[in-house]
């Protein structure tokens, strides 16, 4: 496809890109300028970090960051262990009930925990976990998406490598650890990026099960902080919004190629 692009098309592509970046650019403008300039654009407007300082001091964003980081790591760690074991079972064992079990797993691709909020709240209540970080994490740990993705990858591992390891006397778990997991590394990276960005951004379920500063992730903290009833200044809310997005956005900008390829890999399946 070396044919040149029509200039009009190139202009349209660039206009769309600028339009797509505009809301974000606006958020940054408003966050880094005094409140007086939130709605009027002037090149001479002074830059300031004051909005961030005030947002930080008006709500426990430090704690929210910690909660989100704990949440994201807990979900990811749980998913990696559970999905690896389950995917291994589906990919390399022929056993009774495997197709029914796999069907039951795939069900979660269609009916995600996100829509089962009413009953999941009840289950978490029984477990006595309401208003804790594990309560947010638990429903997502056995990820059907992760199991499916890893199973596909494990199935492509050459049988000769497995046989070679077996000849050397390796048991099933050793084979998993020495052969399968190292070969599935790109899939793990892809899954981890998708999982982390999903749970960093997740909102409705955490909003429902958390009720205090000690367990609230950033997204819920931001919603509580920015609620219209609180009457907080617009610029300060934008600063808080930028703080919420920033870590993921920075990671995305740094590992852009990796990110896009991971989403692609996860998408093709």
């Amino acid at each position: 496809m070396n044919r040149s692009t029509h200039p009009l098309e190139a202009i349209a592509a660039w206009l769309l890109a600028l339009l797509w970046l505009a809301p974000l650019a606006y958020a940054f403008w408003s966050a880094f300028h005094p409140a007086a300039y939130a709605t009027s654009f002037s090149l001479s407007a002074p830059w300031t970090l004051e909005n961030f300082g005030r947002a930080w001091s008006q709500a426990p964003f430090g704690r929210y960051y910690l909660n989100t980081i704990l949440l994201v790591s807990m979900v990811l760690a749980g998913q990696l262990v559970l999905c690896t074991l389950a995917a291994y079972a589906f990919a390399r064992f022929t056993f009774k009930g495997s197709s029914i079990a796999f069907g039951l797993v795939l069900m979660q691709l269609m009916i995600m925990p996100d829509v089962l909020i009413v009953e999941n709240y009840r289950v978490i209540g029984w477990l006595g976990l309401l208003d804790t970080i594990p309560a947010i994490a638990l429903p997502y740990m056995a990820s059907a998406f992760g199991i499916f993705l890893l199973r596909q990858t494990f199935k492509s591992v050459p049988q000769e490598l497995v046989d070679a390891a077996r000849v050397e006397g390796a048991g099933p778990l050793t084979i998993l650890w020495r052969v399968y997991i190292p070969l599935a590394r790109p899939t793990y990276v892809a899954f981890a990026l998708v999982s982390v960005s999903y749970h960093w951004n997740n909102f409705l379920w955490p909003l429902i099960v958390t009720n205090s500063v000690g367990s609230r992730p950033l997204t819920v903290g931001l919603a509580v902080f920015g609620a219209p009833e609180t009457g907080v200044d617009w610029s300060i809310i934008t600063a808080a919004t930028v703080m919420t997005m920033a870590p993921l956005l920075i990671v995305f900008l740094l590992f852009q190629r990796q990110f896009v390829q991971s989403f692609m890999r996860a998408g093709i399946r």
Binding site: T94, F95, G226, F252, V260
Partner: protein, 304 residues
């Protein structure tokens, strides 16, 4: 043939199969427990609870189909269902068309294509709740961005989110912005796997670019389009975060969606029985989508 007569390198076949099954189920166990607790049991419990009501003293009483009858007579239920339909119709075709356009552009040897890809994809990594905060400002009456632009043309202020006639449109525009870049990725992946031969052959024959797209590229991308469309339909029933910040489903439920209504009923009005009934309705919808997907679209994909 008894198992004793089986040759001894290794175990007897039957024992081997049995051992395999035990091992496999042990590996599955942790995931199975959590899946059962947070997917399968809740689905069954949803159906069970939708057939009961909770009396004021906390006792649960079986009421048969009463909750469903109430649901079918609930004007708000129909309202949010219709809203969901409009929301899906408004967001899905537009974001898919835009995604395809973006992917075609980014896939070209165009100057600055890395930047373009970055720009299109960025909204995907932002939390919906942050997106809602930013767009809320655009839609604010009087001093919001949209009204400032209207002001330039001498038009009066308009309460974009406060008026039932514009609120859904506002939501749709925002969600298209958020999702198009995500769908672009799937098209991009598909485009990179297409063989350039066909297009080159057609170009040699002097076919116009539009003709090539219409007769070659687009048909070849059909599986991707269907895959994206299914995902978009599921997403349109899941995406409600922005409502919590922007409208709370208002004005007069004009922007409310089914999942948001479930959230309101169960967690604001604490009517879990009716919440379960509404969830059951949502499950029926998602199962229908699943049947379409697995029964019709996925026949060529091998799951075993």
């Amino acid at each position: 043939m008894t198992s004793e007569t089986a040759a001894i390198p290794g175990r007897a076949p039957r024992t081997h199969a049995w051992w395999n099954t035990v091992n496999a189920w042990l590996l599955l166990l942790p995931a199975a427990v959590l899946l059962a607790a947070f997917t399968h049991y809740p689905i069954l419990a949803t159906i069970l609870h939708s057939l009961h009501i909770t009396r004021r003293d906390g006792a649960s009483v079986f009421v048969g189909m009463d909750n469903y009858r109430a649901m079918f007579e609930d004007g708000i239920f129909w309202k949010v269902l219709v809203n969901n339909l409009w929301f899906a119709l408004g967001t899905i075709p537009t974001s898919i068309a835009l995604a395809l356009l973006m992917a075609l552009w980014v896939n070209r040897n165009m100057r600055g294509r890395a930047f373009l890809r970055l720009a299109y994809f960025t909204p995907t990594v932002l939390p919906m709740i942050a997106v809602a905060n930013i767009w809320l400002f655009f839609y604010t009456p009087d001093y919001g961005l949209l009204d400032q632009i209207r002001g330039l043309f001498g038009l009066p202020a308009w309460n974009w989110l406060g008026d039932p006639s514009t609120v859904m449109g506002c939501m749709i525009v925002m969600v298209v912005w958020k999702e198009a870049g995500f769908f672009m990725i799937f098209y991009l992946a598909a485009l990179q796997q297409l063989s350039p031969d066909l297009e080159e052959a057609a170009a040699v024959e002097g076919a116009s670019r539009w003709y090539i797209f219409r007769r070659i590229t687009f048909p070849l991308l059909m599986p991707t389009t269907l895959f994206v469309a299914i995902n978009a339909v599921i997403n349109s029933f899941k995406l409600v975060d922005h409502l919590v910040i922007m409208t709370k489903g208002g004005p007069n439920n004009a922007s409310s969606l089914l999942l948001y209504y479930i959230y309101e009923i169960a967690f604001t009005f604490h009517d879990t029985a009716y919440g379960a009934t509404l969830t059951a309705a949502l499950l029926v919808i998602l199962c229908t989508v699943a049947l379409v997907k697995f029964g019709y679209l996925d026949r060529r994909v091998h799951y075993q």
